[in-house]
């Protein structure tokens, strides 16, 4: 399956998961799906039959509230049975709203409180260097998450230790829980800020698979960590959810569910 097809299928999966469970964060999941689809299709080394394979690339979803997207990707590529997705957010399920590693093959680490996963990823990258393991570490962070002080603590450290095996992708959908980033806490030019901390930076369209692929394949030929600022659209893929904060919270039911489903079907037919 190519990354476009995977992304579309995952959007359909996530719509079903959130519709069925009445969970939230569909907008956050839709904004990050293209990033995950490109990573899992073309970039990450993994083995679905041996999840703890020591040479695998490590991916940490620091914005744990988009867990539905990662669960769906992992199921689609065969880490576990797709029927598990039907249990998402339900009593007795393994799949909690925020990403959980417990008994979920393919998930490296449980997150949910922001500003944790990205720092854990730094520790993994440091240990891989010490172990002379060539695997790489990818941490996906929300742009709202960069409000957390710990994010900047780890940006400093990864530069200090020249962690060129470490990649942060900022899913920059320009919104956070209470409103537009610019109105809540302006992050300004993240590219310049992070570059000034010694990092390689790239700013791209984070819903464009070609741009994502090119970014992931960029070789900076230096010993520095890389941050990809991926400009995305919150709710990407369903017209009435796009850039609408309401869909950070609301679960699609009734006509909204039908309309979203139809739009995703139309995208499928258009391909």
């Amino acid at each position: 399956m190519n990354s476009q097809k995977l992304a579309l299928q995952v959007r359909k999966d996530v719509l079903e998961m959130i519709h069925r469970s009445h969970a939230s964060h569909i907008g956050s999941a839709f904004s990050v799906i293209d990033i995950l689809a490109v990573l899992y299709t073309y970039i990450l080394k993994y083995d679905t039959t041996n999840f703890k394979w020591k040479d695998r690339d490590r991916l940490i979803l620091s914005k744990g509230h988009a867990g539905s997207a990662l669960y769906a990707i992992l199921a689609e590529i065969g880490f576990f049975n797709k029927s598990e997705l039907d249990t998402y957010y339900m009593n007795g399920s393994k799949l909690s709203g925020h990403i959980s590693h417990k008994n979920v093959p393919g998930v490296e680490f449980s997150t949910g409180s922001l500003g944790h996963g990205v720092c854990v990823a730094t520790g993994i990258a440091l240990a891989l260097k010490k172990n002379q393991n060539k695997a790489r570490v990818f941490a996906i962070v929300g742009d709202g998450e960069t409000n957390e002080g710990s994010f900047w603590e780890t940006i400093l450290l990864a530069n200090q230790y020249n962690l060129d095996n470490f990649f942060i992708i900022i899913d920059r959908n320009h919104m956070q829980a209470m409103g537009d980033i610019s109105q809540v806490l302006e992050t300004g030019n993240l590219d310049e800020k992070i570059k000034s901390f010694g990092w390689n930076t790239l700013t791209i369209n984070g819903n464009d698979h070609k741009e994502l692929l090119a970014a992931f394949k960029t070789n900076f030929c230096n010993c520095k960590p890389t941050c990809i600022i991926a400009n995305t659209i919150k709710g990407k893929g369903v017209s009435f959810m796009e850039n609408q904060l309401l869909w950070h919270y609301r679960d699609p039911q009734g006509e909204f569910y039908e309309k979203a489903k139809n739009e995703l079907e139309c995208l499928d037919n258009a391909k």
Partner: protein, 309 residues
């Protein structure tokens, strides 16, 4: 105590290259003994305790045995959620070290006093809590923590403490979760943990001069607690004096009280020596503060004399 910790970590790091020592920019003139010998096993993350704690979790996920190191509330309360979510929930091989338990940093002020850390660490599932009273216990708990693969909290005083134990038997026979007698007697009982045990020991010696022979037990492990010993003593004595350099709410004495609440027979009451739901706003050295907040040998003697039959 900090030098004894470093001494043992150095010994073990010789054999175990997976030991990584992470500090949040603390340990000038103390940690050089480690990083000069093991530069590849040492990381200074800068003054960033939250990142230190999550980075330790990441290192441990890749098979490292990690120590984090800072002053009392900096390595515990400042990064409490990182300890909860990243280390304890994932049950990782990380040892959190806090210096300056209680008033060890005396006149530096309230920010540098650790008087709520036991309570906050104790409530976390998977966490083992060590609180050694002297260099001998420090060496023992450090070795024990290294042998364990789960999260541990090691609460230390500072440097230069004298041994309270008369010989290194504790070091040889150390068992996680066991208390050790410093003296035995039938006239009363004291439980103590950490560096403040020196005050309890002075009290026991003074009382002996007056003809009262008390038992004094040191608890180098607070969690798991030596419940058998607590129950045994609770059935022998009318009251037990519990000494800790910490808030009496939620600390060591609270753990003892939890055990007593499960005893149906008539049992001892507790007389708690510790911080009584207040902050340390007075300025002074460790001894001065212990005296002002009624946690010194004199107070222990007073409490004993007031309650004895």
């Amino acid at each position: 105590m900090r030098n004894n910790l470093v001494e043992i970590i150095c010994q073990e790091s010789q054999k175990n290259k997976d030991i990584i020592f992470v500090t949040a920019d603390l340990g000038f003139n103390v940690l050089n003994a480690f990083y000069e010998k093991f530069p590849d096993q040492f990381i200074n993350v800068g003054i960033a305790e939250q990142n230190m704690t999550s980075v330790a979790a990441g290192l441990s996920l890749e098979g490292k045995k990690v120590f984090t190191y800072s002053i009392g509330s900096f390595s515990t309360l400042r990064c409490l959620e990182q300890i909860r979510n990243d280390i304890c929930y994932h049950n990782l091989d990380v040892k959190i070290v806090a210096l300056a338990a209680g008033f060890a940093y005396g006149a530096l002020g309230m920010s540098h006093h650790a008087t709520e850390d036991i309570a906050c660490m104790k409530v976390l599932p998977n966490m083992t809590i060590f609180s050694p009273c002297d260099p001998i216990e420090t060496r023992a708990v450090t070795r024990a923590a290294i042998q364990m693969k789960s999260p541990c909290y090691i609460r230390l005083g500072r440097g230069g403490e004298k041994n309270i134990h008369e010989n290194n038997e504790v070091e040889l026979n150390f068992v996680v979760g066991k208390a050790f007698p410093l003296s035995l007697g039938n006239d009363g009982c004291i439980f103590s943990t950490g560096a403040i045990t020196s005050e309890a020991q002075i009290a026991v010696k003074e009382l002996r001069k007056k003809g009262y022979h008390l038992s004094l037990y040191s608890f180098p492990t607070i969690k798991p607690l030596d419940e058998d010993l607590v129950k045994q003593c609770a059935l022998i004595y009318d009251f037990i004096i519990v000494v800790e350099e910490h808030q009496i709410n939620g600390g060591f004495a609270s753990s003892i009280a939890d055990v007593l609440s499960n005893i149906y027979e008539k049992h001892a009451t507790l007389k708690r020596i510790g911080m009584k739901d207040q902050y340390t706003s007075l300025v002074g050295d460790t001894n001065y503060l212990r005296q002002q907040y009624k946690m010194d040998a004199k107070e222990i003697i007073r409490v004993y004399m007031e309650n004895k039959i």
